[in-house]
């Protein structure tokens, strides 16, 4: 009987503790509901309507699955083309970003490099610049007649490249800019992981006669694999959603041949405000695209066993 009292006290205190925690996350939850959850639900709903600029104030109507049907089965293969182009971009830009980030991280983790911390900070610069500024500067560099890149090519006796008005070259340009924008992220993630790899492992491998490549392949990579995969999943998401790079470089051109999902959806919804049902169609499009990204991210995380059970 005497024991009851303190037990209840502990219970009450722990309830207060948990409730207090709820109290503290209320502001965060509110922000999430108003700024994230509501727009998400509203966008999904818009996908089932004929909304456009002219009726978005509330006069739009529910039209069931018509938008989805139009995207997937209308015989207009644009949806598949844009999706295919985007997958291609993910498939090219992600390995480039990872390799570039990995190479730099390994390099700057070497004890023998002097002034590592200064160099590292400099390399993170692209991350700190506003992306719009970086991309517009790149566009200037890619100009056919005045761009610095063609200037350099000419100076060393090579022909000029039509960067922005040729579908393949523009696609290469997207990759270059995407790598420039994203390698600091990959580098930072990998560097952090590398620093947790115990030096003793390398030392003992070295004693056993392992080459630098063998140490990277059999010690470093397996040990940093999980954070690396996590970085890959995140950066794949970023590539999938690339908007500013294609839009600012040449609006997904030339002649829309490099339209990636975000650019197509944006143009659909906002380019020609008078187009009936355009916002509904764009919303439906983004619902499908989100499902695809979700599936891929989940598969990636599962594959790497990163999800917390």
């Amino acid at each position: 009987m005497e024991n009851k009292q303190p037990e209840r006290k502990i219970e009450a205190r722990s309830i207060w503790k948990t409730n207090k925690a709820y109290l503290f996350i209320i502001p965060g939850l509110l922000v999430f509901f108003v700024l994230n959850l509501y727009p998400i639900i509203f966008s999904i709903y818009l996908g089932f309507t004929d909304a456009y600029f002219g009726n978005i104030t509330g006069k739009y109507q529910f039209i069931g699955l018509r938008n989805f049907e139009k995207l997937l089965f209308s015989g207009d293969t644009r949806f598949y083309y844009v999706l295919g182009r985007t997958f291609l971009f993910v498939a090219t830009s992600v390995p480039l970003k990872v390799l570039f980030g990995l190479a730099l991280a390994v390099l700057f983790n070497l004890q023998t490099i002097k002034g590592r911390s200064v160099l590292r900070s400099l390399l993170i610069l692209p991350w700190t610049l506003p992306a719009v500024l970086s991309i517009l500067t790149w566009r200037g560099l890619f100009y056919y007649d005045f761009g610095a890149i063609n200037g350099i090519l000419q100076a060393i006796g090579l022909p000029r490249v039509n960067w922005l008005n040729d579908a393949t070259n523009a696609f290469v340009a997207y990759n270059i800019v995407e790598v420039w924008l994203a390698y600091p992220f990959m580098m930072t993630v990998i560097l952090a992981a590398l620093q947790s790899v115990p030096l003793e492992l390398h030392d003992s491998a070295r004693v056993d006669g392992a080459s630098a490549w063998q140490r990277l392949r059999y010690i470093t990579i397996p040990l940093i694999w999980r954070p690396l995969l996590f970085g890959i999943v995140l950066t794949s998401g970023a590539s999938f959603q690339a908007f500013m790079v294609p839009y600012l470089l040449n609006s997904g051109g030339p002649a829309n041949q490099n339209e990636l999902v975000m650019v197509w959806g944006y143009k659909q919804a906002f380019q020609n405000p008078g187009v009936y049902g355009s916002m509904g169609l764009a919303a439906a499009f983004f619902v499908l695209v989100s499902l695809i990204i979700l599936a891929f991210s989940y598969a990636g995380l599962k594959l790497g066993k990163i999800t917390v059970e």
Partner: protein, 411 residues
């Protein structure tokens, strides 16, 4: 007593929060201006407009406060703001938006202020551009279209017809220059399909005409005459840079680019797009009327209209704007001024406007812009190796897209 780390952090957070709240409540709130106007112009023109408003308008109407915001993202901003009723009181855009924004009621008619005297001040075509379904929605203040600009240091006499222009283009091309700078965009290109009797969209019958013989011939003609002698960068900024960098003697552009060329002190001349001598017809570019609209969320209709009227009818303002920035006035009394008639740029643009075709007003035109833009871009890239994607095929496909979008719109 040394403060604990926790306490220090708490104090810092508390200071930030209190400072934030205090700033919000104590910061002197500037009262809302009577009239808020959104514009999209080059910086030098913005300065000009603001100083004129501050001196001239203030003097006549000291009791009306006006706030002018120059927005680089005007179109996007209006698309977001108009439906929510959070837009400006007044804003400027070309007249072709009228159907798109008047039908859903985002702009308000100004019929109650319109008098015969006001109406008679403007050119008929300009006034017509402001009316939709029998109501007046805006006041016109300028006209615009594209004409042929040439570098006087490279070309002494402008070409009289297309054969002459073609010869000049080829001769500069052979000297290692570009023949011409020409932004590849359906608005800029429209002169040629119209010259050949084609059209993008018929505003009366509300039908697209992308696969008509005239449109196909006009676009093919444009490609044949210009594409081989142009730079691969077809966007406007790159094309203008070629002209200002003396890489080409010719540029097709509108009044909106004149202020910049003047600022660079370029020695340039202007002429109308040359006659197509092969078929004895003139190219007819699309023309736009720049108008000032009143949004339906207007704060004080009377005051807003007062500013609108001043903006569109103040003689000194319109005249100065025309002379300085190449604006083509649509106010009759300004057009008759000797300084305006003697100005080469304004008078040539005015002549080109007379020869042009007004952009359609129907909201359905929006369904045609995307297919024709895509078609022209594709053909420009392919030329001259079309393969099976000939102009006939590509433009018929564009027509099909426009028709099905139209059917959906109506159905």
């Amino acid at each position: 007593m040394a403060l604990t780390r926790k306490l220090k952090i708490t104090i810092i957070i508390a200071i930030i929060v209190v400072a934030g709240i205090a700033t919000y409540f104590l910061w002197p709130k500037s009262a809302r201006a009577d009239v808020i106007v959104w514009i999209q112009v080059l910086p030098e023109e913005e300065q000009f407009i603001k100083s004129f408003v501050n001196s001239s308008f203030r003097q006549i109407y000291p009791n009306i406060t006006v706030e002018i915001l120059n927005r680089a993202d005007l179109k996007t901003a209006l698309l977001a703001a108009l439906p929510t009723g959070k837009g400006p009181d007044l804003f400027m855009w070309a007249h072709d938006w009228i159907g798109t924004i008047a039908e859903p009621g985002y702009v308000t008619p100004i019929d109650e202020f319109v008098t015969e005297e006001l109406r008679s001040k403007f050119l008929d075509a300009a006034w017509d551009a402001c009316t939709y379904n029998g109501s007046v929605y805006a006041l016109p203040y300028a006209a615009e279209t594209v004409a042929l600009l040439y570098n006087k240091d490279m070309v002494s006499e402008p070409p009289q017809n297309m054969s002459q222009l073609e010869d000049m283009i080829i001769s500069f091309w052979n000297q290692g220059k570009y023949g011409i700078a020409y932004p590849v965009d359906p608005y800029y290109v429209s002169a040629w399909p119209h010259g050949f009797g084609g059209y993008y969209f018929n505003d009366t019958t509300k039908t697209p005409g992308l696969n008509t013989t005239g449109t196909i011939n006009g676009i093919s003609y444009f490609l044949e005459k210009f594409q081989p002698y142009m730079s691969a960068d077809t966007g406007r900024d790159a094309q203008v840079a070629l002209f200002t960098g003396n890489q080409t003697p010719f540029l097709v552009d509108g009044p909106w680019g004149i202020g910049y060329l003047k600022e660079l002190n370029m020695n340039f001349g202007i002429t109308t797009l040359p006659k197509i001598d092969e078929i004895d017809a003139w190219p007819k570019p699309y023309t736009g009327i720049k108008v000032i609209w009143m949004s339906s969320s207007v704060y004080d209709k009377q005051k807003a209209f007062t500013f609108m009227k001043w903006f569109a009818t103040n003689e000194a303002f319109i005249k100065q704007r025309a002379l300085q920035f190449g604006f083509i006035p649509v106010l009759k009394e300004v057009l008759e001024l000797p300084e305006i008639q003697a100005d080469e740029i304004v008078s040539t643009f005015a002549k080109q406007v007379e020869m042009g075709i007004p952009m359609p007003k129907s909201s359905e035109m929006a369904l045609v812009w995307t297919p024709i833009t895509d078609a022209i871009n594709e053909l420009f890239l392919l030329y001259p190796n079309f393969g099976d994607r000939t102009p006939e095929v590509v433009l018929s496909e564009a027509q099909g897209k426009a028709l099905s979008a139209l059917a959906e719109h109506q159905g």
